[in-house]
Chain length 457, copies 2
C-alpha cells in the first residue's frame, strides 16, 4: 500500500539504465532512479547480470529504498539477489523489510542459507519469521502482514490519531483495529471516523464492534472472496484465541485473485498449477507429463476399441474418415460445458446445490447442438460417401449423424457433471478437466460411433 | 467501499427470510435485515418472486438502505427490480444511489424506459447519467465513480479535514485529490498525511504533485494493471483537458480482474466472453455456435483428407485405430502450449518481444514430449498390430511413432505461435484458441499421419 505515485517508465527505460550504468554516469542514474517507483526498478532488475544489478542497487538510494526494491521482486528472485551480496549487507536490507516480505523470501531459501540469514537478524525479527513460516503458503497466515495497527479500546480519538501519526511504517493505516486488555480483537474504526470524532471520545464508543476477521488457517481464496464481496480494504487476521496477529490488505487480495485464476486456467489445460517465471524446460515437462500420460492411456484404449471393430471399418472404410470430426465435435462441446461450469463454480455464479439445474441445462444444450451438427455432419457423410459410389451411402450418413448427436450429448453431460461431482466431494473441479475429460470423451466417442455403425451396417 | 462489517449469513439465510416473509413476521424480519450487509440481502433477493421481493425491500430499512441493496445487484437484475415498482418510487431510490451505479442500471434499460426514469430525476443527476453513458463500457469512464473528493490547492489541512467530515457519501475518502482554480488535477494527499500535517499548512505544500491519473478512454484492463502494479487504493480519472471527472477505486478493479479472467477462460473454450447469470439456453447456444461451426468445418476438411487416403487405410485398416490417439495427443500438447502462452501474456509473464525465446522453448518441449510419446504410441502400435498378425507390424509402428512425434511438435509450435502472432497484431490472443487451434491441429495431425503412412507402407 504505497500511495506514492510517480511517472511511469516507458519501454526504453531498461536500455537507458543499462547505458548509464556502463558509462558509470552516477549523477544521472541517481536522479532517474530517485524518480522511479520501486516496482518499476524491480521490473528492470531482471535484465541485468548479477554484478550489474548489485551495482545498480547502490544507486537506488538508502537502505530503506533498496530493500523496497528487493521486496517488489518475486520472492525467488529476491532470494537470489540477496544471496549474491555479503551476508551482513543482506541482513541489513532484510531488517528494513516488512515482516511478510521477509518471511516470503526466507521461506524460499535452502534451510541452511535461511538459517544463516536468520542468525544475522535481531531475535524479535527472526522469531517473527519462524512464526510466519509456520502457516501454510495459501492460508491467511501465509499472506498476512504481521504487526497490524492495534489500539486499546479505552484510547481517546486524539491519542489514537497521535499513534497513527507516529507509526509511519504500518500497513494500511486507514483502518485501526481495536483490542481489549488481552489483545483480543473487539472492533474497528476507520481513520476517517477518528478524524470526524470528538477528540476526547474513547474508541469503544465509536468503533464498529461487528468486525469481520479471518482465522490464520483460512484459505486465501476464501479471504479473497470475503474482501471482494464486501469491498473491504483490509481484513484482520486472528489466531484460535481471537488475538489479533496480522492484517491482509486489498493489494495482497488482488495478487491472490490473479494467482487463483492462473491456477485454474493452467490446471484446466493440464499444464501445472502456477506460473513461475524461471521454470526450466524440464520443469515444464514434469508438470505437463502426467496429464499427457493420462491422455496417452486413454488414446490406447480408444485404439483398442477401434481395433475390435476393424471388421466394420473393413466393410466401409469411409467410416474411418469421420472419426476425427465426431470425437472433435464432442470434445469441443464437452470442453465448453466443462469450462462454463468450472468457471461458474469459481466465481460462485454456479453453486453445487443447483446440480440438476446446471446439468439439465447443459444436456438440453447438448441435445440441440448435437441434433444440429449431427445432421450437418451426417449430410456431409452422405455426399462424401455418395461420390465414392458406395452402396450404403445413406447408412453411413445415418450412422454418422446419430453418432455425432449422441456423442455430443454425452460429452456435454460429462463436461457439466464431472466438475460438479468433484466440487461435491471437495476436490478442486479445475483438475477434473482438460486432458482428463477430453480423453474420456474420445473413448466415449469412438465406442458410440463404431457401436452404432456395427449395429446398422 | 463500505468499511461496515457484519456477521455473514449462513446457507439457511434465504429460507429463514422466506419463511418470515410468508408469516408476515415484520419485527423479526426488520431486526434480521438490519443486521445483514446489503450485499447479502441482494444475494438472496434472487430467489424471490417479484411481489415477494418488493415486499421484502420495504423491510430493509429507509430509502438509502433500500437503494444500497439494489445497487449491490447485478445491473440487469437491479433494472428489473426498479421497473417493477411505481416510477416515482424508483426515481427516489435511483436518486439515493452513487452516480456510477445509477448510470450502470439506466444504461441497461430500453431507451424508452430509461428516458422515463431520467425525466423523473433532478436535472443535474440526469445530466450526469447522460455524461457517464457516453463512455465505453470497458473504459475508465465507464467504471469510474463521478464526483470525487476534490479540494482546492490553497485550502489548509484543517479546512480540508472539515470538508472530508462533511462529505459522508464520497467514495474513497482516504485519498484527497487536489485541484487548481481551473479544476485541473495537480496533486494528491492521503487522509493520513492531512491528519499528520500542521492545521494551517496549505494542501499544495504537502501534496504529492506526481499523481498518476488515467484518461476517461483508457481500457479498464490497463487501469487494473496500473492499480495492481503500484498497489493503489484508487486512481483519479481526468478528461482530455486534465479536469478531474471521477475516481476508480480498488473494489471496482477487483471486479475488472475477475471479469477479465472469466472472459479469457470462456474465450479459450469458445464459450462466449462473459458470465451473465440469466442467460437462456438459446443465449448460450448462440455464444457457442460459431466456434462449433468452425470446428465442424475443420472436421469436414479432416474427413476429406482421410477420404483421399482411403487406399492406404484399406491396405492396413489398423492405421485407423491410431487416428484418435495421434490427434488427441497433438491436441493436448498444443492446448498446453497455447494456455501457457495466453495466460503468460495476460499476466505479463510473457512479452511479445520474447517471441522466439517462448516459441523456441515450446518447440523444444514439443520435440522431447513428442519423441517420448511417439515411441510409446509406436510401441503400442507394434504389439497391437503384431497380435492381429499383419505382416507390416513394424511399418505400422514406425509410421505411428513418427506421425505422433511430428504432430506433437507441430502442435506445440502452433499452440505457442498463434497467440503471440495475434498479440503482435493487437488481436486478443484468447480468441486465437480453443476450438480454433484444436481443429487446426486435427487437420495437421491426420495429414501428417496418413501422408507418412502412404509414403512408408
Amino acid at each position: 500500500m504505497r500511495p506514492s505515485s510517480l511517472p511511469q517508465p516507458n519501454y526504453r527505460f531498461a536500455e537507458t539504465i543499462k547505458r548509464l550504468l556502463r558509462r558509470n554516469a552516477s549523477p544521472s542514474l541517481k536522479k532517474i532512479l530517485a524518480r522511479t517507483h520501486p516496482v518499476d526498478i524491480a521490473h528492470v532488475l531482471d535484465s541485468f547480470l548479477p554484478q550489474e544489478r548489485q551495482k545498480l542497487l547502490t544507486y537506488v538510494g538508502d537502505d530503506e529504498r533498496q530493500s523496497e526494491v528487493i521486496a517488489c521482486l518475486p520472492p525467488d528472485h529476491a532470494a537470489e539477489v540477496l544471496t549474491e551480496m555479503p551476508l551482513e549487507r543482506a541482513a541489513v536490507l532484510l531488517r528494513e523489510m516488512s515482516g511478510d516480505d521477509r518471511a516470503d523470501i526466507l521461506g524460499i531459501l535452502d534451510e541452511e542459507v535461511a538459517a544463516k540469514f536468520l542468525a544475522a537478524l535481531p531475535q524479535s525479527e527472526s522469531e517473527e519469521v519462524a512464526e510466519l513460516l509456520r502457516y501454510g503458503e495459501n492460508t491467511a497466515g501465509g499472506i498476512m502482514s504481521p504487526d497490524p495497527l492495534a489500539i486499546q479500546e479505552d484510547t481517546t480519538a486524539e491519542q489514537a490519531i497521535r499513534i497513527v501519526r507516529d507509526s509511519p511504517d504500518v500497513e494500511m493505516a486507514f483502518y485501526i483495529y481495536v483490542v481489549n486488555d488481552h489483545n483480543s480483537l473487539v472492533g474497528v474504526v476507520s481513520l476517517r471516523q477518528l478524524v470526524t470524532s470528538k477528540p476526547e471520545i474513547q474508541l469503544w464508543e465509536v468503533m464498529n464492534p461487528h468486525v469481520v476477521s479471518v482465522r490464520t488457517d483460512e484459505h486465501q481464496e476464501e479471504v479473497a472472496r470475503l474482501v471482494s464481496r464486501y469491498d473491504f480494504l483490509a481484513v484482520p487476521v486472528v489466531d484460535e484465541t481471537n488475538q489479533l496477529v496480522g492484517v491482509i490488505t486489498v493489494d495482497d487480495v488482488i495478487d491472490v485473485i490473479r494467482e487463483e485464476a492462473t491456477e485454474d486456467i493452467l490446471k484446466m489445460a493440464g499444464a501445472g498449477d502456477e506460473y513461475a517465471k524461471n521454470v526450466s524446460v524440464f520443469g515444464w515437462i514434469r508438470r505437463r507429463l502426467p496429464w499427457l500420460a493420462a491422455a496417452w492411456f486413454g488414446g490406447i484404449v480408444a485404439a483398442m476399441i477401434i481395433g475390435k471393430y476393424r471388421g466394420t471399418i473393413e466393410r466401409s472404410v469411409q467410416l474411418a474418415a469421420f472419426i476425427p470430426v465426431i470425437i472433435g465435435m464432442a470434445g469441443n462441446v464437452g470442453t465448453q460445458s466443462l469450462t462454463i461450469v468450472v468457471r461458474g463454480l469459481a466465481t460462485r455464479n454456479i453453486e453445487v446445490k443447483h446440480f440438476w439445474k446446471v446439468v439439465g441445462r447443459e444436456i438440453i444444450i447438448g441435445v440441440l447442438l448435437g441434433l444440429l451438427f449431427g445432421a450437418a455432419i451426417g449430410a456431409t457423410g452422405f455426399f462424401d460417401t455418395y461420390e465414392s459410389a458406395e452402396l450404403n451411402a445413406l447408412s453411413v450418413a445415418i450412422v454418422v449423424a446419430i453418432a455425432a448427436s449422441l456423442s455430443m450429448v454425452l460429452a456435454a453431460t460429462v463436461g457439466a457433471l464431472m466438475p460438479l461431482v468433484f466440487a461435491k466431494i471437495h476436490i478442486d473441479p479445475a483438475v477434473a478437466t482438460g486432458p482428463f475429460v477430453t480423453t474420456a470423451i474420445d473413448v466415449i466417442g469412438v465406442s458410440v460411433y463404431l457401436g452404432i455403425a456395427t449395429a446398422i451396417i
